[in-house]
Structure formats: structure tokens, C-alpha cells
Amino acid sequence: MFLIVEARFLAPDVKLLRVQAPLIARKRKAGQFVILRVHDHGERIPLTIADSDPVAGTITIVVQGVGKTTKMLNLKSAGDSICDVVGPLGLPSHVEKFGTVVVIGGGLGTAIAYPTAKAFRQADNHVISIIGGRNRQFVILEEEVRAISNELFVTTDDGSYAEKGFVTDQLAALIAAGRKLDLVLAIGPIPMMRAVAEVTRPHGIKTVVSLNPIMVDGTGMCGGCRVIVGGKPQFACVDGPEFDAHQVDFQILIQRNAMYRDMERKALDQLLQPPAPAVSAGKDAQCPDGDPCRFVEKVPELAGVWKTGA
């Protein structure tokens, strides 16, 4: 069991969890991830290690509740625990002094890009960060990113905060302004990463993306995480998760990630369904007396879904 020592929402349904995992905290490098299982009937899901504290023996993960497992994880509070956490997995980000590096984080991608941005800065790069979200609420870790960036641009799709537009608009503007960019790292939704790749491709700017295929073991044993890079299959859990954006077949990744959509929907619907026992996330996260209030209180934006029983 892995104890959660801190848990707080950063945005609606985006939660930061600090977890006791001393062996992983000691070893982890920027760009690596863990695989965890919330409870003993749970699936194994990969999550990036956003930060770690080797002295306190903790790792930080930032979780976006998109389906059953991540929503159950977001029900957890400090003092609860997670059944299994294994890592650090994957290859660390390739960090050296490149010169000027643009780090782009879309939505939750900001949390995944943050540790690598920090490492770029520590390696003496000039770090330009561009972070964005659908609206103001989804811009996360702004202060943390600002602290490690030489320049920071913030965008929202709807203009509810900072610059209106997409992160790619800012990137295109930098290129148009004639800035010499040595490396671009883009992490976020697949369409965003694909768009970034298309912006940099004509200019021959080296671009790296972090891929998020469906994983099981995370040790190279199952081959489920295979992605097509440069026309060849690669196992993202051991050969990645970072790859050359200009070589990645994003279409195949999108298709493969949709493989279990119907079942995932079903699992989530069941989770959101009263009565309360269905929302249990293991013994220690059980709603007291089957009272669903705690669930609604913790995941406020689901209150609506709950009432309509969707």
C-alpha cells in the first residue's frame, strides 16, 4: 500500500496527489512515469511523475479524471492509500544544453511537461514555456512553470484568461518573429501534439512529444503500448514515452486509444450510478454509510451528472 500524504484539486477534476514511494522518489528522472492500481480489482494505468522529493520519499502525480480509474483516484484524500505503484518507468527525457527550448503544455500536459522543463532550465537552456487550457480553470501550475521559465506565454481557447487562442498560435508567432528555436517539447492532447508537429515541420525544428498509448505492464512484456514511429513499431513504455514528433503516426495512436471506448464508458457510467457502494474506491475510500455526498463534494462538477443519473 502506498500512502497519500497530500491531495488537492488544481482544476475541475484535475488533482495533485503526493504519494509515499521512497524507492521511486530516489530514482526518478524527468520524463518518467509510474503505473498504479487503485484497488485490488483495478486496472494498471500509467501516470507521469510530475515531481519528487527524495528526502521526504514522495512522488507527485497530477491526475485528470477522464474515466473510472482516474476518477476513483481523484476521490482519494490525504491519509488514503493506493494499492500498487511501480516505477520509475520509461526512458528519462533527453536533457542537455540545446540553447533555446520551447516547452508546450496543453491542459493536463502542463503537469507532464513541467518536470522536463525544469530539467531543461537546470541544464542552462533558455526555456520558453507556452501553457494553455480550454478556459481559465484549466490553466494549471502557472506559478510553478513561471518560476522555472525564462519566458512564459499563457493561452485559453475561449479567451477567458490571458491570450485567446491555441498554444500553437504562440509557437507560430515565435517562429514568425524569427526567434531561433533549438528544440520544442509538446505534451497534451494528441490533436495538439500533432498540430505542434505540423507547425515546426516546415522549419525543421526538432520536436519531441510524449505519447500516451494504453499500457498494461509497463515493462515491455505485453506490447500493447506499441506506437508507430518512423514506420516502425516501438514500445512506448520502454522505448519512450518521448518520441520525435515528426516521425510519429498520430492517427494510429488515436485509433488504438479508442479501442475500449464502449467498455470504458460502461465502467464510468457504473461508477457514477447511485447507489453509493458502486463508487467505492477500495475500503479506505468508501463513502461513510453509503452516503454519496462525499463523492459529490469531492468531484463537484459531477454533481450534475449524478442527479440526472447519466
Partner: protein
């Protein structure tokens, strides 16, 4: 010897049949196919043994189980004694009794096999191990006084488990480090419940725990901790690497990325380790095979397990597609026979060329080509050659690739002074299982490539012996 029947009379008794679930019923459930012999059947079978002086059965068992002597104890009705006799050489009898390729080993060399009906040694081994379990009297051997030496065993498959068991008995302090969240290696994530109930593996692991072995799950050696750190700051005096062959090979033909194309490792892991067959009670999903057509490529034990698992998930039509002929199939005879009874189709001498998909990226079929056996090559094997104009399309929804594994590279790639072969396996000498790195031993599939449970166990035991010697003498 206890057998009251004169040898001539023994030869008249026919081999007992294993009671099994009816084929069409079992093809839809995950309960074990073989029900096991009862006492009467076991007695009858045991009495067939000729108690030979030259024990071919013993010589053909990779770990040297004293077959004749344990069978004699069965005849005498001393089932616990028989179990203890097996345990002298084999720490996982309930497992090997079920999964050893007996027809190529002990039974294949039994003197009676000349007449086509060898003694059912596997059934008897399973019988006494199950008996021992059912009465709850597993004869755990006593532990030697503690030596204060620490050994790390990397990987909890049969090689790791048997090595850990032997070393702990010698009084060493043994920790097994396993990457997954469950202990057992292929025994828990690969071989299905209907062939090897997971409770058996859990019980064996519990026995080892009682003997003093410490198990740590969720530790990936090479990532969470390296071999050098184990030997350095972690304070281990020796390391046994038993990480198995866990890197799936693909066919490298077009369309392998389509949704619905699985490696056998993924397909079986989703069901065995993650219980996807019980979705949504368990969270891990698997392709809904109900009413679908499934093809499995390959013809080893893994292929048989995958194809039979797909039937149990509801597949309408499940086929084995294999480029050689039936004779060359590497699977255990019993598995092929069971698969046929359950309705699996066998397409021999057939080679896949390309997977076909729809515009959304889902598998719809596979283009196949018929083969014929050509002239024998240098090794004497007749290799298959394509028949011109034999291309055809088989419509399928799920394809499972079971053509073998390569060595899992995580340990090798993070331990620079560990010599490996061209195929990525670890180099270790055959007797002492020593690697190129002092203090590090290796055995099982990570050295031999995909082999068998009993060979992995044998390697684990050999390694334990060599590690014990090394710890005592300090001489590498």
C-alpha cells in the same frame, strides 16, 4: 516395493483416463479442465508401474524426480510420503504435474511407452500434490541455522521461486523482487486458470513465505533499483536474475497496429492477471470476443492457451494458424488434444501476409497463403515454401500473435558488465549458472530462451546450489 501384482499382470492394465469437464461445457468456462484422479484411479494407475531397475523415467525428468519410488509410495497408500519424495527434487509438484510436457520427458521414456501407454506420471504427480494440499499437510522442510548472507532473486517465475526456496532452507536471507503486482511469473500472467488454477500458485508462494522467503512486488530491477545497487548499498551478497523471456515478437507484416491485434502476452495477461473476463467487476477491459472470429498465429503452449481463452470469452470461431505441419507443433500433446475437442480449428501450413482493417482502424481480416513442406534443409527440417496462387482472405475480428518472446532487456541494459547473447539473453555457464559479473547468477528463460517450467525450476535449483557454495567459500 509394495506392488502386489506380478509384472506380467500389470501390463494388462490400461492407462487410466483423466476425468475432465465435457468439452463443449468447459469451452465456455474458466474452471480447470482436468478434474484430477481420485484415489481408486490413482491406485489403479500406480499399479501399472513396473518398478524398473533402470529408471528411464527418472533419467528423462529434467530435475530427476524419483518417479519409481514415489509411485511405489502411492501403491502403498502413503500419499504424503509420496509427495515428500517428489519434493526432494521438485518444489512445485502441483504445477509440474499439470504443465510439464510429460510425453517428451518422464512419460516419453517410460518403458511402457514402447507399447504406447506409458505410466501417467504427470497425473500421479498431480494427484499426490493435490492430496497433500487438500489435507493441509505440506511437508515443509526445516530451515538451516541463519547464515546472515543476503540474496536477491530478480523475478518470481518458477526459476526464481525454486531458487529462493532452496536458498532460504540453507539459512540465507532471501528477497524476491518482482516487477508485477503478483508473484508467480508466467504461472500467474501466462498460463490460464483452466489449466493451472491460480490458487495453487498462491499456495506454493505462501509455503515459501512460511519458509522465510521475503517477497517484494512492484520492484522493477533496472529501474527501481539496479543490480549494482543490490550488490552495493543494498547489501546483498549475491543476485539471481530470473526475469524470463517476456518481450513479445510480432510477425512484422502490415496491419499489426490495428485494433484487435494482440500479442499473446497482452491477451493472456489481461485475462489471467487482470481478470478482464470478469469485466466490469474487474476494471481491466478486453476485446468483446462474443460471437466474433479469432485467429491465433503460432502453435506452442502459448498459442493453445490464447485460442482456448478466446473460446471461453465467447468467440464463435477460433483458429490456430501455423506455417508448418501438425507434426512440428511445439505445444504439449494434451493441450492440442483438448483444443481440438473444444472445437478449435487448425489451419496448418498457412502463413499470414497482411492484416486488413476498416477505415476506423479495426481489424477485419487477414490475408493468408498456403505453404507446402519443401526439401529438407541442412538441419534436416523440411521448411515450408509458399504455394503460388494460394492467397486468400480469412475474415477475423481478433488476431493473437503467439510466435515467441525475446529476453526482457531491463536488467541487461542497466548492468553494463553482464554479457549477453546476440538475441539479448544473459550468458551463464550451464553448471554453476554464473554470469560474467561476479556475484550475479542467472537462469530460466532469460538464459535459455522460452523453455519449460520444469527446466526453469531446475535452473533455479542449480543456481541455489552454486550460490550457496559461493556464499560459503567467497570464491567466484
Amino acid at each position: 516395493m509394495h506392488n502386489p501384482i506380478p509384472p506380467k499382470e500389470r501390463m494388462k492394465i490400461h492407462r487410466q483416463l483423466m476425468p475432465e469437464q465435457p468439452p463443449l461445457e468447459r469451452a465456455r468456462n474458466f474452471v480447470e479442465v482436468n478434474r484430477g484422479l481420485d484415489v481408486a484411479l490413482a491406485q489403479e494407475e500406480a499399479r501399472r508401474c513396473l518398478t524398473c531397475k533402470t529408471q528411464h523415467c527418472f533419467s528423462a525428468c529434467p530435475v530427476g524426480v524419483q518417479v519409481r519410488d514415489f509411485i511405489d509410495l502411492v501403491v502403498a497408500g502413503d500419499y504424503l510420503g509420496a509427495a515428500a519424495k517428489i519434493r526432494e527434487d521438485n518444489v512445485l509438484p502441483a504445477v509440474t504435474g499439470r504443465v510439464c510436457p510429460q510425453e517428451k520427458q518422464c512419460e516419453g521414456s517410460c518403458i511402457l511407452s514402447a507399447r504406447g501407454e506409458s505410466v501417467a506420471i504427470g497425473y500421479l504427480e498431480r494427484f499426490v500434490a493435490d492430496y497433500e494440499r487438500s489435507v493441509g499437510k505440506v511437508g515443509l522442510p526445516a530451515r538451516a541455522p541463519l547464515t546472515g548472507k543476503k540474496v536477491a532473486v530478480v523475478g518470481s517465475g518458477p526459476a526464481g521461486l525454486s531458487c529462493a526456496g532452496d536458498l532460504v532452507l540453507k539459512g540465507h536471507d532471501v528477497t524476491v523482487l518482482e516487477a508485477l503486482h503478483e508473484i508467480g511469473g508466467v504461472l500467474v500472467y501466462g498460463i490460464p486458470e483452466f489449466r493451472l488454477p491460480k490458487q495453487i500458485v498462491r499456495d506454493e508462494v505462501e509455503n515459501l513465505r512460511l519458509m522465510g522467503v521475503e517477497f517484494r512486488t512492484n520492484v522493477v530491477v533496472g529501474r527501481t533499483v539496479t543490480v549494482d545497487e543490490l550488490l552495493g548499498e543494498e547489501g546483498y551478497h549475491a543476485v539471481f536474475v530470473a526475469t524470463g523471456a517476456g518481450l513479445p515478437m510480432f510477425l512484422n507484416i502490415p496491419g499489426e497496429h490495428l485494433c484487435g491485434v494482440y500479442s499473446a502476452n497482452e491477451f493472456l495477461t489481461r485475462v489471467n492477471l487482470m481478470k478482464a473476463n470478469e469485466f466490469p467487476a474487474y476494471d481491466n477491459p478486453i476485446y468483446d470476443c462474443r460471437g466474433k472470429d479469432v485467429a491465433v498465429f503460432g502453435a506452442g503452449n502459448t498459442a493453445m492457451d490464447a485460442v482456448r481463452t478466446s473460446l471461453r470469452l465467447g468467440a464463435k470461431c477460433a483458429s490456430i494458424v501455423y506455417r508448418r505441419s501438425e507434426k512440428e507443433m511445439p505445444a504439449r500433446a494434451e493441450e492440442v488434444h483438448h483444443a481440438k475437442d473444444e472445437g478449435v480449428q487448425f489451419q496448418m501450413l498457412t502463413n499470414p501476409l497482411e492484416f486488413l482493417g476498416d477505415e476506423k482502424g479495426w481489424l477485419t481480416g487477414v490475408r493468408l497463403q498456403r505453404m507446402e513442406l519443401g526439401a529438407p534443409d541442412k538441419s534436416g527440417r523440411r521448411s515450408p515454401v509458399a504455394i503460388e496462387g494460394s492467397e486468400h482472405v480469412l475474415p477475423i475480428h481478433v488476431a493473437i500473435i503467439a510466435i515467441g518472446n525475446k529476453g526482457n532487456p531491463l536488467v541487461q541494459s542497466t548492468t553494463p558488465d553482464l554479457a549477453t547473447t546476440r538475441n539479448g539473453y544473459i550468458v551463464a555457464d550451464a553448471e554453476k549458472l554464473k554470469t560474467s559479473k561476479p556475484g550475479v547468477f542467472a537462469g530460466g528463460d532469460i538464459v535459455t530462451g522460452g523453455a519449460t517450467v520444469i527446466l526453469a525450476m531446475g535452473a533455479g535449483r542449480k543456481a541455489a546450489k552454486a550460490i550457496h557454495e559461493y556464499l560459503q567459500s567467497g570464491i567466484w
